[in-house]
Amino acid sequence: MAAVSAVVRKDLRLEARAFESVPAMLMFSVTTFVLFHFGLDRGALAGDLAAGVLWVTLLLAAVLGMNRLFATEHEQGGFDGFLLAPVDRTALFVAKATVLFAFLVAAELIAVPAFALLLLEPGAGQALPELVAVLALADAGIAVVGTLVGALGVQTRARELMIPLLALPLLIPVIIGAAEATAPLFAAAGAEPLPGRWLAVLALYDAVFALLAYAVFDFLLED
């Protein structure tokens, strides 16, 4: 536990110092919303179109965060420094997943309101607690898979290419679940109730991948 908190604090401090991941994810999201406006030639979206645009954008922005997640460790000897210490290796996975989750939340704090402002139909439902629940579950899945794929990809040569190619297919169930769950919340006539089964799908996905990642992550670090 102490090791997890040490790594998380170190990464948050590095991010605050160097500003690499969160601003990039944020700027990318907002720019993509503008692109969608021109690409779709629509000023206001509702329902499943709005949900789709939001989630595809968030997913692609998350890829930016995944690419950078282990880059510093790889370039500046962070892996060695961690492996020399008498700590459980899985602590690195837990810490990095927590950090990626935190980055996603930080970016979404501004990106989602920006989306509502720029693209969402004015009358579309405002169901904030439900939206937060979907965001939380989906972000957890993205964080777990993103950390695993980030670690897989950091050792490869074409890292920025390999990570999205691996992560995006793996995250399709997340996009399905999140978009289906969010679509009624953005209904043009006002928010409809949240379909519970999609939350269950997201939760199941999160649980399966968290356990899986926990089991295999050690093998990515050993030599």
Binding site: A2, A3, S5, A6, V7, R9, K10, R13, L14, R17, A18, T72, Q76, G77, G78, D80, G81, F82, L83, L84, A85, P86, V87, E222, D223
Partner: protein
């Protein structure tokens, strides 16, 4: 030279240790024993396997052949027993360039579960107190090296693995770090050096590697500079 006792096992005991990268054999059949508290100087040309040996002793690489024991723990099964008692100083300082020296040491202190104040004390002892709050990327190589040395001894390891520790250090810096990683520090040391005279002066034992094989293993006082230069031929 202290003899091994039940309380202080040999620092390093290798028997027939080997390691390959795919088809290329980096180390083959390395056998020696380093008693607790003693220093071994490792000599060899580039590519002879010195770094590989150091990383195996640091428990960052698993040996592919033979039996390796570090501080009494058999690798890789019992590596967890010895982890945290070994200090590695490689070519990379293993410091985050955007954090300050002080922050880096605090991070490592937390990982190794030692008091964060130790980092501050060490920085003072090596003369970095004034620059301790500047990001590591602003430090000169000599200063970064001194900070890296602080990181190496932060957790008071029983075995030091040093790859050219005095590179980049001016005489003042070298003097400042001597009590921490030098002969008088009391720790067992595996020292890679390209400075033949200096290495021999510090060594209780000498290990020579050539093309991954052990070419020389003898007590320090029985080895001459010429013997060592022969390894590089």
């Amino acid at each position: 030279m202290a003899a091994a006792t039940a309380d202080s096992p040999d620092a390093v005991a290798l028997e027939g240790v080997g390691r390959a990268y795919g088809e290329r054999v980096a180390l083959r059949d390395v056998t020696f024993t380093l008693p607790a508290g003693a220093t071994v100087a490792v000599f060899g040309a580039n590519g002879a396997g010195k770094t590989t040996l150091l990383r195996i002793l640091a428990m960052l690489l698993r040996p592919h052949a033979g039996v390796a024991r570090v501080l009494g723990a058999a690798l890789p099964r019992e590596a967890w027993k010895a982890r945290g008692q070994v200090g590695l100083l490689g070519h990379e300082p293993l410091l985050y360039r955007d954090l300050t020296a002080r922050e880096n040491l605090r991070y490592h202190a937390r990982l190794h579960r030692v008091a964060p104040r130790r980092g501050d004390d060490l920085l003072e002892r090596v003369g970095l107190a004034a620059r301790a709050d500047d990001p590591v990327r602003t430090l000169s190589r000599g200063m970064a090296q001194r900070a890296a040395i602080c990181r190496t001894v932060l957790h008071d390891p029983s075995l030091l693995l040093l790859d050219e520790p005095l590179a980049n250090l001016d005489p003042g810096g070298a003097a400042a770090v001597a009590p921490l990683i030098g002969r008088g520090s009391g720790h067992a040391r595996v020292l890679i050096s390209h400075d033949v005279e200096q290495g021999l002066a510090e060594a209780d034992w000498v290990l020579g590697l050539r093309a991954g094989r052990q070419a020389l293993w003898a007590p320090g006082d029985q080895v001459s500079a010429a013997d060592v230069r022969g390894l590089y031929a």
